[in-house]
Symmetry: C2
Subunit: 449 residues, 2 copies
C-alpha cells in the first residue's frame, strides 16, 4: 500500500488540521482516541483534512490509550478554554457537568460532537438553539444505536420520505437479557446478574432494564423522523423486569418472539412514543437480532421498510460514530458552513408540535395471560367480558396446568384494542373469583410495511 | 397539522428553489416526480429550499404521473440546454445516450443525480473527474440497493472505519428466484418465468441472473469502501442459473442457505471482487432476507458488522434515494459548496490502485456435490485426491440415491481452499470412472465479524 500524502490529498499546499479537544477518556473516549490514531491516514483522506486531538480533559489516565505528548488536563473545562481547540468531543456522560461543558463550548464558538443520549433527549432543544445562535455544529450520531449510522439515515438518507413509524431494539443490555432468557429458559434476575458481571449492565441496571435509556434514544429518533421537538417526558416507558421465561415460551409457541422495542408512530391523532416489551412475529428480521446488538426498522412512505443493524454500544463501535461526526464536520468546515443539515433534519421553523397520543388510546393487539380455574363457564365468562369492552379475540388458548397447580394458564391474543379498553376488561377479569393473581399484558406489533 | 411556510422555514425572505430537469419518465422517473409532489412540504422543510421540477425530458408521457404545466420535451437534450435547470436527474438508464446526456449536463455546469449503476460502474472514474473539473456534483445513491441509503452509510456514516469486507444481496430478482426455489422446491427456470410475468425480471434476464447487475453495484460499493478506482472489468461474476432445488435442500440440511452475494474483501494480497452463489449459515440475518429485498452487510474495523436492509428496486424506493440525493444537494447548495464529500469518499488523490486477487487464489470453504457409484473405495479415493491437493475436508456426507439412480449424491464441505486447488482436485475427481457427470461447486462464507 502506498502512503497517502495528506497534504497532496487535499490538493492544497497547507491543510489545517481539525483540532479536537476530547473530554472523557473512558471506554468510548479511549476508543475514539485510538481509532483516530490507528486509522488516521484513511480518515484524513476521507475528511480532506487531518483530525488531530490536541487536548484531552480527563480526571484520570486510561491505560487502554497512550496519549503520548497530547496535552492532558484534569479540569475538563480547560479544554473549553483552549483557543487551539476547534471541536469539543463530549464523552463524559450525564446531564449536569456534561451540559455545562457543552454549553460553555458552544458559547466559546467551538463545535461539539457528543455521544450523550440523555443530554440530547432532555436538553437538545435548548442546546440546538444555542448552537445555531453561535453558528457552531452540535452532532450526536453516537447518541443512538452506537455505531449504526441511523441518525444520518434518518436526517439525510430517508429525507424524501414521510416517516410513518419506526421500531427499534435500542438497548443492547435488555436485548442480551431477553435473548438469554429465551434461548436458555433462564429467569430475568439470573441473566441480569450475568450481564452485570460481563460489564453490559450497570450496577444500577434500571437505566437499561426499565427502558429509560431506550426512551432517550427513541425520542431522538422520533424528533428527526417526524419533525417534532424533543420531548423525553412524553415517552411511555415500560421495562422488561416482569417478563418470565414462561411468557417468552408461550410467545414462541404462538409464532412470536418478545423484544424490548422503542416504537414511534405518526398517525391522524398524533404521535405515539412508547418503549415496552412487544411480541413480534418470529420471522421478522428484528425478531432475529440477538445478544447485545441493536437494530432499527423504519417505515418510509416511499422506500417502505428499511432496517439498520449493528453494535449499539461499546468503545469501538461508539467511536466509529463519533469519528463519522468528526469527518462530517471536517467536510463541512472545508465547505465553510456547518449548518447545511438542520439539527433535527427539518428546518427549526418547520418543527411541529404534534399531539402525543395518550397511552389509553393507543391501539395494538395484545397477548394476555392469566391463571384460571379449570372449570366450566370460565372461558365463556372471560370471552363475554372482552366482548362487553368491544375487544375482539384472535385466539384463546388453554395450556396444561403447571405441576402442583390447580389453575391453568389461559392465553388470549386480541385484535387491535386500545389500552384503555384492555385495562378495563382486565380489571373486571382480575376481580373474578375463578382467576388467580394478575393478568400479564404484553403488546403485539406485526411491524408490517 | 399546521402548514409549513416554506419561505419562513428557511429564515429568508426569498428562497430560490432548486430547479430540476428530469430525464426519463418510466417507473423511477414517475416515482420521483410523484414523490416530489406528494411530500413537497416536508422535503422543502428538510432541504431548506423547495425542490421544483421545471423541465421533463421523456420520449412519451406516463399515465402514472400528472405532469401538469411542467414543460415536457421529447428531446431529452433540450433539458440540458435549458438555462432554467440547475440539476439534471438522469433516469433513462443504459450507458450510451445516458452517458452523453450526463456529460453534456456536466459540461454545461449542471449538477447531476443518477440512478444508473451501469453508467457509474463503467464510466464513473471519467465522469467524476469531469464533474470535479466543472465544479458540479454527480450523485448516485439510487444506483445501489434502491432506497437503502448504503452509499451514504459507506461514504459518510462509516468514514472512521477501515472497511474489511462487505457482502450483499444486491439483486432483488435473483433473491426472489432463490427464495422461491428454496421455499417451494421449484426449479430455476420455472421461477424465472414467474419473475418475468410479475415484471421483476427483464425479458432478457441475463443482467439479473448472471450477476452483471450485482457486479455493477458491487464495484461501486467496493470503490467507496476501499478507496480504489471503479473497475467493473475486475469483478468475477457467476450467475444462479445452474443452481438446483436439490442443492438448496442439501445446504439447508447442513445448516446453510444459498444466496447470490456480491462480496468485496480487502486483505494483504489485495482486493477480492466477486459475485457468486454462496452458502451462508442459516441463522445469519442475510440468510433471512427473502423475496425481492436487498441487504448489505459491512464489516468495519471499529464498528464491527453493520447491516442495511430494504427495497432494492421499484419506482418509489428508488425515488426515495433520488430525492435523498436532491435534498443533500440542496443542502450543499445552501452552503455554497457541492464537493464536501469526495465522490468515492476518499479524496481523489488518495485513491489507491490496489491489486485484485486472481480468483484461483481466492480462498473460501466449498460445498461440492458429485454423483458417485455406491461402491467400496470410492470415498477413500476422493478423500485422497483432496488430500493430495492440500484441501482439508470439514464434512463428507453420502445421501440416499434418488429414485431410479445407481449413483449416490456425495456432498463434501471443505475448509478454506483456494479455487485453483479445488479446480485441480475436481478435474481429477471428474475423471474417475466412479463419478458420473460434473461436480457442483458452490463457495461458502461464514460472514463472521
Amino acid at each position: 500500500m502506498s502512503r497517502v500524502n495528506i497534504t497532496a490529498a487535499t490538493g492544497d499546499s497547507v491543510v489545517q488540521p481539525v483540532r479536537i479537544g476530547l473530554c472523557g477518556l473512558g471506554t468510548v473516549g479511549s476508543g475514539t482516541f485510538n481509532l483516530l490514531q490507528e486509522n488516521a491516514e484513511a480518515i484524513a483522506a476521507r475528511a480532506q483534512a487531518p483530525l488531530a486531538i490536541v487536548h484531552i480533559g480527563a480526571r484520570r489516565d486510561n491505560p487502554a490509550c497512550d496519549t503520548g505528548d497530547v496535552r492532558v488536563s484534569r479540569d475538563i473545562f480547560a479544554v473549553v478554554a483552549d483557543p487551539e481547540v476547534d471541536v469539543l468531543v463530549e464523552l463524559i456522560g450525564g446531564t449536569t457537568v456534561a451540559r455545562e461543558l457543552v454549553e460553555a463550548a458552544i458559547r466559546s464558538g467551538k463545535h461539539v460532537v457528543t455521544a450523550n443520549k440523555a443530554l440530547i433527549a432532555e436538553y437538545g432543544n435548548e442546546l440546538f438553539a444555542l448552537a445555531a445562535e453561535h453558528n457552531v455544529a452540535l452532532r450526536y450520531e453516537a447518541a443512538v444505536a452506537g455505531g449504526i449510522p441511523i441518525i444520518k439515515a434518518l436526517r439525510e438518507g430517508l429525507a424524501g420520505n414521510h416517516i410513518e413509524w419506526l421500531a427499534g431494539i435500542i438497548n443492547g443490555t435488555g436485548n442480551f437479557i431477553l435473548s438469554e432468557m429465551r434461548e436458555h429458559r433462564r429467569e430475568f434476575s439470573d441473566v441480569l446478574a450475568e450481564a452485570q458481571a460481563l460489564g453490559y449492565a450497570e450496577a444500577d441496571p434500571a437505566f437499561d432494564v426499565e427502558g429509560i435509556d431506550a426512551a432517550h434514544k427513541l425520542v431522538i429518533l422520533a424528533s428527526i423522523a417526524f419533525g417534532i421537538p424533543l420531548q423525553f417526558a412524553s415517552v411511555y416507558t415500560e421495562g422488561i423486569t416482569r417478563l418470565t421465561p414462561q411468557d417468552l415460551d408461550y410467545a414462541e409457541e404462538l409464532g412470536y418472539r418478545v423484544k424490548h422495542l422503542g416504537i414511534a408512530k405518526q398517525g391522524p391523532r398524533g404521535v405515539e412514543l412508547r418503549v415496552h416489551p412487544t411480541l413480534i412475529p418470529a420471522d421478522r428480521l428484528l425478531a432475529n437480532v440477538n445478544g447485545v446488538k441493536n437494530a432499527v426498522l423504519v417505515e418510509g412512505s416511499a422506500v417502505g421498510p428499511t432496517l439498520y443493524y449493528g453494535a449499539g454500544a461499546g468503545g469501538k463501535p461508539t467511536a466509529s460514530a463519533v469519528v463519522a461526526d468528526l469527518v462530517d464536520l471536517a467536510r463541512d468546515l472545508s465547505a465553510g458552513q456547518v449548518s447545511r443539515v438542520p439539527s433535527l433534519s427539518f428546518a427549526n421553523e418547520a418543527l411541529r408540535d404534534l399531539p402525543i397520543v395518550p397511552m389509553a388510546e393507543v391501539e395494538t393487539p395484545w397477548y394476555l395471560r392469566m391463571e384460571a380455574e379449570d372449570r366450566t363457564g370460565v372461558l365463556s365468562r372471560i370471552a363475554t367480558i372482552f366482548s362487553d369492552h368491544g375487544i375482539s379475540i384472535e385466539a384463546l388458548i388453554q395450556k396444561a396446568p403447571a405441576a402442583g397447580q390447580t389453575t391453568v394458564p389461559l392465553i388470549v391474543l386480541t385484535n387491535l384494542a386500545a389500552q384503555g379498553r384492555v385495562d378495563a376488561a382486565v380489571t373486571q377479569i382480575e376481580a373474578l373469583d375463578t382467576i388467580a393473581g394478575q393478568v400479564v399484558r404484553i403488546r403485539v406489533e406485526f411491524l408490517d410495511g
